[in-house]
C-alpha cells in the first residue's frame, strides 16, 4: 500500500501540474485571437467570461484539456465504429498495419539474428551495417516507399506495414543477437561436453536464454512499428488512420481533432507496449523466471 | 620482554584517551521477514593507538558496528561517541578513514587522482595534495603507479591504493571492513605484514573487521569476538603477542594459544545448528 502511494501520489501531482500548466497555456495562447475577435465585435467581456471564451474556440491555438476530452469521448464512444469520424475506426486502420508490420519485423529480426550468431561471415559483414542503419533516419524513406509501391499498383495495408517492418526489425535483430549470445561461457562449455549439435545448443540453451531480450526489444519494436504506421499514412494523404487524421487536422487547423488523434495514438501505443510486456511476463514466468 | 610489556601496557593508556566509546548500543533493521537485531547492547571502548579486530560469523553485526562508528548506520538505541563527538559530527570533522571490502576505486581516475579525491573534497591546496599523494603512495609501496588506472592493477595493489586513499587526509582513526577478504592468501599475508608496519609508523587507531582467525590474532592488540541473532559481543581477548611481529610468529605457541581462545569464544557464542 505504501509502495502504491509512493508512486501514485507523485505521478498524480505531476499530471495535475501538467493539466494546470496546459490550462494556463491555453488561456495565454488563445487570448490574443479572442481579444481581436472581441474588439472587432465591439464587445468587452469580463475576465471570467473572457477566460471562458478562450477555452471554447472552435479552432483554438491550444485547445483546453476538456475540449480535447469531449472531442475524444464523442469520437470514440458516441459514433458507430464504421463511421469515418470515429477514432476507433482510425485507430483500427493504424493498428492493423502496425500489427502486420510488427509481425513481419519480428520474424525478420529473429531470422537475421540467428544468421548473425551462427555464420561468422554474416556477423562480421552484416552487424556493422545493422548498427549503422540505426543511425539513418529511415522514416525519410516512408513517402518514397508508399508512392513507389502505389506506382506499381500496391496500395492499402501492405506499404504501411512495410514501413513498420523496416522500423521494427532493427531492435529485434539487435536484441536477439545479444540474447542468443547471452549464455555464459560455462553453459556453452557444458553443451560442448555433451557433444551437443549447433541445433541442440540453439533450442536448449540459446533460445531460452534469449527470451527476456526478445520481449524487451519487442516492446521497443512495437512502439516503433506504430510510429512507422502513422508516418506511413502521411505522404499519400490517406483517408483513414491516425496519421491521416493528424494531416487532415493540420490542413484545416482543426487543433482539437489533432489533439484527440494524438491521444488516441498514445492510448494505442500504451496498450500495445503493455500487451507485449504482459505477454513477456507470462512467458518468462512459465519458463521459470523469478517474478520481478 | 620489553616489547611484551609495551604491548600489554596499551589497554591502560586507553582509559585516558577514548577514541570510540559505545554504551548499550543496539540497532534493529526492519525487514519484510520481521525485525533483525544486528546489534544488541554492545558496550565497548577503544583507546588511542589500539588495533582492535572484530571477528565472528556473518550476521554477527561486526560490519554494522563499524558502519555505526562511521555514521553510515544510525543506532536504534544506546550511546556512541567517536573522538568525544557524535558519529555524525566526527564524520563531518573527517575524523576517520574507511576502507571497504572492495577497493572501490573510481575507474575514471588514475591512482594518484583516486588518492587525491578525499583531498579535493576537503579543499586541500594543489601543492599539499601532490605531497600527500606522494607520501601515502610511498607508505603503501605503490610509488611508480601514479598514472595507472585502477583496472590496470592487480586486486592486491588496488586494495593497497584504497588504503592509501583512507590514509591520505591523516585521520587518526582507520576503519577497515574485511579489506583483504577478497584476496588470495599469499597476497593477504603480505598485506597483513605491511599493515602492521604502517600501524607502527603512523600510530593510528585501527578497527579491523575480519572473518579470519589467524589474521585477527596476527594483527590485533585486542580481539572482539561477536556472535549473531542478536548481534552481540561475547568475548574480548587481549593479545599477549609482542608489538614486533614477524610472519612466522604465527607458528609460536603463544599465537596458537590466543587463536585457540578466539575459536573457543566463537564456539561458545554460536551454535552451528542454526
Amino acid at each position: 500500500m505504501t509502495g502504491l502511494g509512493d508512486r501514485f501520489i507523485p505521478v498524480m501531482t505531476i499530471l495535475l501540474g501538467i493539466v494546470a500548466a496546459w490550462y494556463i497555456g491555453a488561456y495565454a495562447l488563445n487570448a490574443p485571437f479572442q481579444r481581436g475577435l472581441n474588439e472587432r465585435a465591439g464587445e468587452t467581456p469580463g475576465f471570467v467570461e473572457f477566460v471562458g471564451q478562450t477555452m471554447s474556440q472552435p479552432k483554438p491555438t491550444l485547445p483546453a484539456p476538456h475540449q480535447v476530452a469531449v472531442n475524444f469521448f464523442e469520437n470514440t464512444f458516441l459514433r458507430s465504429v464504421t463511421s469515418a469520424r470515429s477514432l476507433v475506426y482510425h485507430a483500427w486502420v493504424t493498428l492493423s498495419s502496425t500489427l502486420l508490420g510488427f509481425a513481419f519485423g519480428t520474424v525478420l529480426g529473429i531470422a537475421i539474428a540467428v544468421g548473425i550468431v551462427h555464420v561468422l561471415a554474416l556477423d562480421r559483414s552484416l552487424m556493422p551495417w545493422i548498427i549503422a542503419s540505426q543511425t539513418i533516419p529511415i522514416l525519410a524513406l516512408a513517402p518514397m516507399i508508399i508512392v513507389v509501391l502505389a506506382a506499381v499498383g500496391i496500395t492499402g495495408l501492405l506499404p504501411k506495414a512495410l514501413i513498420s517492418t523496416y522500423l521494427s526489425f532493427f531492435p529485434v535483430a539487435v536484441g536477439m543477437v545479444k540474447g542468443l549470445r547471452s549464455p555464459e561461457a560455462i553453459n556453452l562449455d557444458l553443451m560442448r561436453t555433451y557433444n551437443a549439435s549447433k541445433a541442440e545448443t540453439f533450442w536448449k540453451l540459446r533460445l531460452p536464454a534469449s527470451v527476456p531480450f526478445l520481449f524487451a526489444s519487442m516492446k521497443v519494436a512495437i512502439a516503433a512499428s506504430l510510429v512507422g504506421a502513422i508516418v506511413g499514412e502521411l505522404p499519400t494523404g490517406a483517408a483513414a488512420g491516425i496519421g491521416a487524421k493528424l494531416l487532415n487536422g493540420s490542413y484545416y487547423s482543426q487543433t482539437i481533432d489533432m489533439f484527440s488523434a494524438l491521444v488516441a495514438g498514445s492510448i494505442v501505443a500504451a496498450l500495445l507496449v503493455t500487451a507485449v510486456g504482459a505477454t513477456g511476463r507470462v512467458v518468462e514466468r512459465a519458463m521459470g523466471a523469478r517474478p520481478a | 620482554m620489553l616489547d611484551k610489556m609495551a604491548a600489554t601496557s596499551r589497554p591502560t593508556e586507553r582509559a585516558t584517551t577514548q577514541v570510540v566509546s559505545a554504551r548499550k548500543l543496539s540497532l534493529t533493521f526492519e525487514t519484510n521477514d520481521g525485525p533483525v537485531h544486528a546489534l544488541s547492547n554492545v558496550d565497548l571502548d577503544i583507546g588511542k593507538g589500539e588495533f582492535v579486530s572484530f571477528i565472528g560469523p556473518s550476521g554477527c553485526g561486526k560490519t554494522t558496528f563499524l558502519r555505526v562508528i562511521a555514521d553510515l548506520e544510525q543506532p536504534s538505541s544506546g550511546e556512541i561517541s567517536v573522538n568525544g563527538m557524535s558519529p555524525g559530527e566526527a564524520r563531518k570533522a573527517r575524523a576517520y578513514g574507511y576502507v571497504f571490502q572492495a577497493a572501490g576505486l573510481f575507474p575514471w581516475r588514475t591512482i594518484e587522482k583516486n588518492i587525491a579525491l578525499p583531498l579535493e573534497i576537503m579543499d586541500y591546496s594543489a601543492a599539499e595534495r601532490a605531497e600527500r599523494v606522494r607520501s601515502t603512495l610511498e607508505l603503501v609501496n605503490l610509488t611508480g603507479f601514479e598514472k595507472k588506472y585502477p583496472w590496470q592493477l592487480s586486486g592486491g595493489m588496488q586494495q593497497r591504493a584504497s588504503i592509501a586513499r583512507a590514509l591520505a587526509f591523516d585521520a587518526d582513526l582507520l576503519l577497515m571492513d574485511e579489506p583483504f577478504g577478497a584476496l588470495d592468501e599469499i597476497v593477504r599475508d603480505h598485506l597483513n605484514d605491511e599493515l602492521l608496519k604502517l600501524w607502527a609508523r603512523t600510530n593510528k587507531t585501527i578497527c579491523f573487521v575480519t572473518h579470519s582467525i589467524p589474521e585477527a590474532v596476527y594483527l590485533s592488540t585486542r580481539i572482539v569476538v561477536m556472535s549473531p541473532r542478536p548481534g552481540r559481543v561475547t568475548d574480548v581477548i587481549e593479545s599477549t603477542l609482542p608489538a614486533e611481529r614477524p610472519l612466522d610468529i604465527r607458528e609460536s605457541p603463544e599465537f596458537l594459544e590466543i587463536a585457540h581462545r578466539v575459536r573457543e569464544g566463537l564456539r561458545a557464542g554460536h551454535s552451528y545448528e542454526d
Binding site: D6, V11, M12, T13, I14, L15, L62, L120, A121, D123, S125, W129, Q134, T135, I136, P137, L139, A140, L141, M144, V147, V148, A151, V152, A223, L226, V227, I230, V231, L234, P235, I242, G243, L246, L247, S250, S253, T255, F259, A261, L262, S266, A269, A270, V273 | R67, A70, D71, L72, R91, R94, G97, Y98, F100, G104, F106, W108, P118, I121, W151
Partner: protein
C-alpha cells in the same frame, strides 16, 4: 573432393559459369566479352578451390569477383533490360566468389593491430559494395523502371549534379533544426534529470511519465508545432526538442542511480556535499547512460526534423525535398537526399560515439575488459 565441398561457394560459381556457356549473355552482347567473363570466373573458381588458404586465395577471389562484376556491367553498355540468363548466372557466380572471399577474410587471424582493423573495416565495406553492385547490376540488367528504383550510379550522378541544392537542404534541416533542437532538448532533459534527482518527489512522479512517453508516437506533435511556430526551422527544432527531452531525462536519472552503494558510502565518509558527490562520483558513473541517450537522440532528432517538414516548410529542407520530389516522380533526387541524410546521420552518430570513447574510456565495454 573435400575441398570442393568445403568451398561450396566457389564450386557453385564454377557450375554456374559452365552453365552460362550455352546461354545468351545479353540480347545483343558480344561473344568475345562473354568468353572472357566465363573464362575469368572458371579460372578464379578453380584456383580458389585449389589454393586452400592464405593471401593468394584472397587476391584470387578479390580480383575474380570484382573484375567479373565490372565486366558484367560493361557488357550492358548503355542499354537496360537486355540481360539474358547467363548474365544472372555469372552475376551470381561473381557474388558467390565474393561471399567466399568474406568467409575467408572472416576466418583470417591477423596478429598486428593495423591488419586486424583493416579486416574489421574491410569486411563490412565489401558487404556494402556488393549490395551496390547487385543493386546496379540487377536494376540495369532487368530494366527496372527508373521511378521504381534508380541504379546507384544514377543516384551518385544526381548527388554530384545537385550539390548546391543538397547543401541548402542540409543547412536548413540539419544545421538549423536538428543541431539547435538537439542541443536544447538534451540540455533541458539533463537539467530536468538533475532537478528530479535533487527532489525525490519529482523523480518518483516524472520517471514513470517519462518512461511512458518514450513509447508514445511523439512524432505526432509535428503538425501542431508547425502550426504554432510557423513553416521555418523553429517549428522543426521544437519537434526535435520534444523528441529528445524524455530519452535524456530517463537515461540521466537511471545513470545517476548507477553508482554503487560502496562508492556513495565512501563519499559520505568524506562528508562530501551533494554537489561534490555529483561532480566527482555520480556524473562520471552516469556518463555511459548519458551517452546512450545522446546516441538515441541523434537518430530521433534527424527523424523528427525530416518528418516535421512533411507538414509544411519554406521551399528548402530535406523533408520538403523528399516529399515534393516524390510527388514529381524524381526518385533519384529522393534517393540522393536519403543518401545524404544517411551520411549525415552516420557522421553525427560517429562523432558522439567517438566522444563517448574519449569520455568513458574506463568503462569495461570500451576498454574491452
Amino acid at each position: 573432393m573435400s575441398n570442393v565441398l568445403r568451398d561450396w561457394q566457389s564450386s557453385a560459381a564454377l557450375v554456374l559459369a559452365l552453365l552460362s556457356i550455352v546461354l545468351p549473355l545479353t540480347d545483343a552482347g558480344s561473344v568475345g566479352l562473354k568468353a572472357v567473363l566465363v573464362l575469368l570466373v572458371i579460372t578464379a573458381a578453380v584456383a580458389a578451390i585449389a589454393v586452400r588458404a592464405g593471401l593468394l586465395l584472397v587476391v584470387i577471389l578479390f580480383v575474380g569477383a570484382h573484375l567479373a562484376a565490372w565486366l558484367l556491367l560493361q557488357s550492358l553498355g548503355g542499354k537496360t533490360g537486355m540481360a539474358g540468363p547467363s548474365y544472372y548466372f555469372l552475376l551470381a557466380a561473381a557474388w558467390l566468389l565474393a561471399w567466399r572471399l568474406v568467409t575467408v577474410l572472416s576466418a583470417l587471424k591477423i596478429d598486428n593491430r593495423a591488419g586486424d582493423l583493416a579486416i574489421r573495416l574491410g569486411i563490412p565495406l565489401l558487404f556494402g559494395i556488393w549490395v551496390l553492385i547487385l543493386w546496379e547490376a540487377i536494376v540495369r540488367g532487368a530494366g527496372v523502371p527508373f521511378v521504381l528504383l534508380p541504379p546507384p550510379s544514377a543516384i551518385a550522378a544526381r548527388i554530384a549534379g545537385s550539390v548546391s541544392t543538397l547543401a541548402a537542404d542540409v543547412n536548413q534541416t540539419i544545421v538549423k533544426a536538428v543541431l539547435i533542437g538537439y542541443a536544447l532538448g538534451c540540455t533541458a532533459g539533463f537539467a530536468a534529470a538533475i532537478l528530479a534527482d535533487r527532489f525525490g518527489f519529482l523523480r518518483r512522479g516524472l520517471l514513470p511519465i517519462g518512461n511512458m512517453v518514450s513509447a508514445l508516437p511523439i512524432i505526432g506533435v509535428a503538425p501542431i508545432m508547425v502550426m504554432w511556430f510557423g513553416f521555418d526551422w523553429p517549428s522543426k527544432a521544437a519537434v526535435v526538442v520534444i523528441m529528445t527531452f524524455f530519452p535524456m531525462l530517463v537515461n540521466t536519472v537511471t545513470g545517476l542511480a548507477a553508482s554503487g552503494h560502496m562508492e556513495r558510502d565512501l563519499m559520505r565518509t568524506y562528508a562530501a556535499g551533494y554537489w561534490q558527490t555529483l561532480a566527482s562520483l555520480r556524473l562520471p558513473a552516469a556518463m555511459p547512460f548519458i551517452f546512450n541517450a545522446l546516441k538515441i537522440n541523434s537518430t530521433l532528432a534527424l527523424i523528427g526534423a525530416i518528418v516535421a517538414e512533411f507538414f509544411g516548410t519554406p521551399v528548402v529542407g530535406m523533408g520538403f525535398r523528399i516529399s515534393t520530389e516524390v510527388g514529381r516522380m524524381n526518385i533519384d533526387m529522393v534517393w540522393a537526399e536519403i543518401a545524404v541524410a544517411a551520411l549525415a546521420g552516420s557522421v553525427f552518430y560517429g562523432v558522439i560515439a567517438l566522444l563517448e570513447r574519449v569520455v568513458t574510456f574506463w568503462h569495461p565495454s570500451i576498454r574491452g575488459g
